[in-house]
Symmetry: C2
Amino acid sequence: MLKNNINKNNVSCDECKNEGCLIKQCNPEWIKKLNESKSQSIYKQSQYIFSEGNLVNGIFFIQTGKVKVISSNYEGKQQVVRLAAEGHILGHRGIGNENYPIGAIALTDAHICFIENQLLFDAFLTNPMFTYSLMMFYSAELRKSEQRTKYFSLMTVEEKIIYALLYIEDTFGLNLSENVFNISLTRQDIAEIAGTNAEQVSRTISFFKAKKLIDTVGRKIILLDYDKLKSFINHYN
Amino acid sequence: MLKNNINKNNVSCDECKNEGCLIKQCNPEWIKKLNESKSQSIYKQSQYIFSEGNLVNGIFFIQTGKVKVISSNYEGKQQVVRLAAEGHILGHRGIGNENYPIGAIALTDAHICFIENQLLFDAFLTNPMFTYSLMMFYSAELRKSEQRTKYFSLMTVEEKIIYALLYIEDTFGLNLSENVFNISLTRQDIAEIAGTNAEQVSRTISFFKAKKLIDTVGRKIILLDYDKLKSFINHYN
DNA sequence: CGTGCTTTTGAATAGTATCAAGGCCGGTGG
DNA sequence: CCACCGGCCTTGATACTATTCAAAAGCACG
């Protein structure tokens, strides 16, 4: 794997514009220390940040870019288990010898910092707000994930696709002037988030396009009526 | 709701035999402080610990007992999103005004301590190992939950039921002498963990009973061949 | 202006949920 | 002690939903 430690594109924590980065919760001394020890890489769209089967002995901090966390079955069929954007983190701290194969793929070009577990551990013990923030992040993600469990179990395919669209909007946002999704995804990508296949996504999008709740131009998806779309799945909350 | 603060069954943290309790990660001074402020309740089997719609402004620490965390849809159909046992925690710290309806129900009689968010926050800032442990707990649960997302999306019903049985075994354990599940669940209960219905659970159990991988005596479920059962879903890892 | 990939749509198939009926078991009251 | 009742379990038949397969159309790109 490519190591870009000596990369002129490196951004030090001082200059980093990502205000949501959890590293900023550390005290100045530790920010400096983590800054010096972190490694940074720029990942191209579609590139693996880490892949299933590889042990990850640290945490990735997304400085810029959008990422999908995936897990696939023996046939290679992929399921997106989480979407992540700026300020989010990737890579669970390895615990014991559990088998937990997960991969992360850049959905856009992404600038990502990596810090090793050993150093993080020391940072945790001396920076309460850092640890607290990370705990809250995991807690919030657990909530979302548990809700996803419920959705996957109880929703129809059509509902799951609506959920996926809203989840994408929630995580990656819209281009505000036009209500266009801030990211370009194939039907297959959406299917992997919703837990179904590309054909069903296509059918459902056609259906709601006819109802004038969404529109498509090329691969762009335009949200015409967020509230109405949400009303289809609101009763699951 | 019944408050049992002045309950002769109360157990102070000194005497508490639950070695996995995360409170024990605090320093002695704070254990004392938390011990004095915590409230304790004994919940009967099937009793709600907290219910969907109720805001939970603190964390429940399970001292003894087994619990299911559930979420239901508008028709009242329930989905178990997590199983929890001794040493586990319940109730995510409330963040913002998100709508996150979740309930917890005792599967056995359970002894549970509760501590309020404000006090916890102070504890977090002064007890690094406590915060760290909690972070690791959430991180581990997130891993499990993300894996569940994948399972629910990719597995057949039969596989999901095997997963549910193994998840129950993993969380609640077996009566070692006989390999009987340490807990009595109805087919409906198992269905709500697996994300299917009671009939399918019954069919699947009959099927594997015929294959001599499990056996049933009354409501007891006996694991005859854990490894072989696991081999049916191993390729998802 | 092909070529190959994605999307769309339709039709066939497979998988799962639902509906229904009968059996089993434990608990209760005569 | 036995008969009855109610809830749970089991099994089969049916209906429905979603996946798969297939083919044509659209689109991006060299």
